[in-house]
Amino acid sequence: MSETRGAVVVVGGGISGVQTSLDLAESGFQVYLIEKTPSIGGVMSQLDKTFPTNDCSMCILSPKLVEAARHPLINLMTMSEVVDVSGEAPNFKVTIRHNPRFVDMDKCVGCGICAEKCPVKVPNEYDASLVNRKAIYIPFAQAVPLKYAIDSSKCLKLTKGRCGLCEKNCPAGAINYEDKPVDETIDVGAIILAPGFSVFDARLKKEYGYGDYPNVITSLEFERFLSATGPYGGHVVRPSDQKTPKKIAFLQCVGSRDEKVGNTYCSSVCCMYAMKQAIIAGEHTAGLVPSIFFMDIRAVGKEFEDYRARAEKEYGIKMHRATRVASVSQDPVTKNLTLRYESGGDIVEEEFDMVVLSVGLEPTKGADKIGKIFGVNLNKYGFAGTNVYSPLTSSRPGVFVTGAFAAPKDIPTSVAEASGAAAKAGAYISNKRAFPEEEKREEIAVEGEEPRIGVFVCDCGINIKGTVDVPSVVEYARTLPNVVYAEENKYSCSADSQQKIKDLIHKEKLNRVVVASCTPRTHEPLFQSTLKEAGLNPYLFEMANIRDQCSWIHMGEPEKATKKSKDLVRMAVAKSRLLEPLYESKLPVTHSAIVIGGGVSGMIAALDIAGQGYHVDLLEKTEELGGNAIKIYHEEDGRKLREFAKELITRVRNNKNITLHLSTEVKDVGGFVGNFKVQTNQGEIETGSIVVAVGAEEYKAKEHLYGQDPRVVTQLELEDKMQKGTLPAKTIAMIQCVGSRNDEAPYCSRVCCANAIKNAIAIRKANPNAAVYVFHKDIRTYGFREDLYKEAGMAGVRFVRVPDDKPPMVTKEGDDLKLVANDIVLGDDIELKPDMVVLSTGIRPHHDNEELAKMLKVPLSKDKFFLEAHMKLRPVDFATNGVYLCGLAHWPKFTDEAIAQASGAAARAMTIISKPELKSEGIIAAVNEDICDGCKICEPVCEYKAITIVEDPKNPEKKKAVVNEGLCKGCGCCVAACPSGAMEQRGFKNQQILATIDAALEEGE
């Protein structure tokens, strides 16, 4: 590594640790990513689908894992742990212990022969221990790195000194039984802790019979049931008899909101994942009826409430509201399960085929040890201690936290925080940024040269050779036109084969290389860098996938598999003949950012970017900074939000890297990533990146006599009154979901429950004689805010649950206010004469969103909040490169969440503006201007708005398409749409693909 490059240790290789590592590395910092297991990926790798989009979890995760493993600035250390930290930021000394893997990572090619030969079967934790792995294993098929490891507690050789089969059979000689722990001490400027969480041990809820009854399983186990790669291949079956269940019960809050087991908090994610599992299970199994037993459904995230509505209405999931199941018993013969629960005042017994326990999230096992080693405080629940106003900062300066280590949270929140932690850590080492320099090499000229193709066919040990007659494929390759050299390799990917390929490029004057081996998805970059090192353009390379897509799927048919391998080689050779050198063009970067919006989120984003030494233009439409926060008086963590906002304003005003533009509106946005031009009413600003932090608005109530009777106020107005003195009111009725969860705004505004409860408690504390009622549909105090709910109950606040479609009615009777509400629990109407009615008004998107979205060419969600590139893994990115999102502009959220997200958006902007230059993709669309007649068909087809139609300067009567190389992502959609053949995709040109098709359908030898 570069002596001067600032470094960060990241602990934990789950999605949060991986994201924070990528953001740091993409900003020019060295990362040591420490993971204690053999593979990165964490819990997300075990999940089948993710809510609310039902995306396949592994599909979206896996590219990030590969990217992290391949990044030149990320040093991935699996089977490792931090054992000591000394010094202070930015001069930490971190001692890392590399535990023995017993397999040499440099030699192991991941062929799996060792595991095949290993006689020891061990229940596979990854698959909920329902199927076995071996004592030498990879945790899952897509593991990164794809290197085997020996389970030292199970291996016969390591425990009893006998066996040794893996060593005998490993064709690469990678097994090393003598492997020992090795300690290494490194210097880093900052530390990020992302060790994740552990799940609640369901055995502790004895009344549900987990561990005794086979058909009672946990939700994490059920994820594996649902997964196509799981123990039952994605078929929902009962463990006891492998029969398809008809009735499944999901029990919520197992190990959450439960004082008896010591976890008073809400785990935040279980409601959503249970609905997801119920939906997916229903899709897999015709006639299945899932039931969910819950206290409140906490669908507080983006589009979650819609998901809940669909689960109930479209998928027919039976929702047992406000129902906690008392016990589960098993029929000893059928293994069916009987649930006892209360319904409408009666005790009911109902039989189910299967029960899924929605287990809560707990502090990661060993959290206290982590706390000690790193010198950081934990909170009373055992999670990392943080503050509302600094949600990513631990108690030790220079040590940051992200993900579920600090509280139970969902994936998008963890990912946004991960980026945020990267911004915080980067501030400690911002003067030590260094991007890896590319070596400059003379490139071998190929233009106009006859193709000279070299073909390398891999045995992959016995993975290919065991089925395919490799020598005959090599022989066949030699007969193909333009092939001047062909050979067999034991492992084409091994270091010595790479050297050989380089030598042969020179010796045989090869100007195209074809490797027939595994999949280009994992190995193309490796061979491409080999070509590069030999001076050949990396795009003069083609792969034939004769392992994953041939020898492995045609194992019993060696002759046909051999013929197919020849077909695949012939296709690759045909395409390679037409390959051309490609170049990633370099784009300049303006090294500054614009933040739109001067509320808390915008100010945090601006300060974080400025804190790394880059210039920020902060644009605020009104005459003052502070946004909504300035109106909010209540305290969190002992401090008023408005006080915090005032401090931020001072910091922004005093920061020499921030230029403040008040009363400034965006009028137009041009350019592209790294090179935006933003027009405002005050003039033009050039910038490399844009952060959207325009906030949101409070719903202006029309209902419940608001505006007609002064005794009807909003929560903010109530706070204002409370500031000015005690309330004279004796009976106060709070109405939740005013302007939320209705037809006009079907989403949940997320923050209103906790805010109302906070005010309710304050009223009771100030005036114990006041009666305070809260009328609600669900109480959604997720996470640690659940304690507020409990405190309110103890303080005598009365909670009345009303139906979803029947809000309370407020009328006037003489001079009195009258409130009538339907109490679900009571099953009857109740009537009140309150002195004051307080409306918990929801959050509405900013009224300017549509206009701004159009200028930025970014989408809005159906509720008119800004819509990110991917709800799960790109929570602060837009599909348009270089534009980022945070705060209430994204979705209603609490202060701490907005702050973390704002830091996240800052970190993402840093990955653009800190780079000396940007590179366009090599495989992008290109227009043949001689053919293009500007018909405009391609323009609307492009999802990235990369195509514009311009006048041809040579011929004013003619129009033509122009591709912006900074915006094009290389999908080729426009190429297929082009009617004239003027549009081409580099690396996948029409002629190249047609030649491949022709070759595929040629008769072989």
């Binding site: 098929a141 039952y232 996938n545 392992r547 897509q549 799927i553 080729g972 749409a977 491949t996």
Partner: protein, 166 residues
């Protein structure tokens, strides 16, 4: 290992001597379906050898011309495999694919080809099993439909030409 291995390697070999072996071209998008095909391999899911995969970055890159060319050159069936709706790596490419394939099927009929010889399927990166079943089912379907009539017609005309030449 899991219980979903499908046909065991030995069972696949039991093909009837002399039966029609279709040639199938399968276009797979790089991000979902090609990865799903790889996963089928990693999971050792066995399937017939009758198909050849062509990788495209996005299913929307599959130009109708490619499909027509494949049929013209004698393919008996063409599969286009892409990401599930809403999962497209390139935002909405697969929606365009869906529309294009629907139109293309109409066109095939005009050429005298059964539109069922072209099939669009969503296969995600985690659906190795679905890749396997798609290949198996489609191969069987095409086997039942018999050879591409264009190929037969071409062979016939070549034979006629050859005869008249002599």
């Amino acid at each position: 290992m899991s219980t979903q291995q499908g046909t065991s390697p030995a069972a696949v070999t039991a093909t009837t001597e002399g039966q029609f072996e279709p040639k199938i071209i399968a276009f797979c998008c790089n991000w979902c379906s090609y990865a799903g095909a790889d996963l089928a391999g990693v999971s050792r899911l066995q399937m017939p050898t009758n198909f050849l995969v062509l990788r495209a970055m996005c299913s929307a890159r599959v130009d109708p011309e490619f499909v027509l060319r494949a049929f013209a050159k004698g393919a008996d069936g063409v599969l286009v495999l892409g990401c599930h709706p809403a999962d497209c790596h390139y935002i909405g490419g697969n929606y365009r694919t869906r529309r294009r394939i629907a139109l293309l099927k109409m066109l095939l009929e005009q050429y005298g080809l059964d539109p069922d010889r072209l099939h669009l399927e969503w296969v995600s990166a985690s659906e190795g099993v679905k890749f396997q079943s798609t290949i198996k089912d489609f191969t069987e379907k095409i086997r039942e439909m018999g050879p591409n009539p264009l190929k037969e017609a071409e062979e016939e005309s070549a034979r006629v030409k050859g005869e008249s030449h002599h």
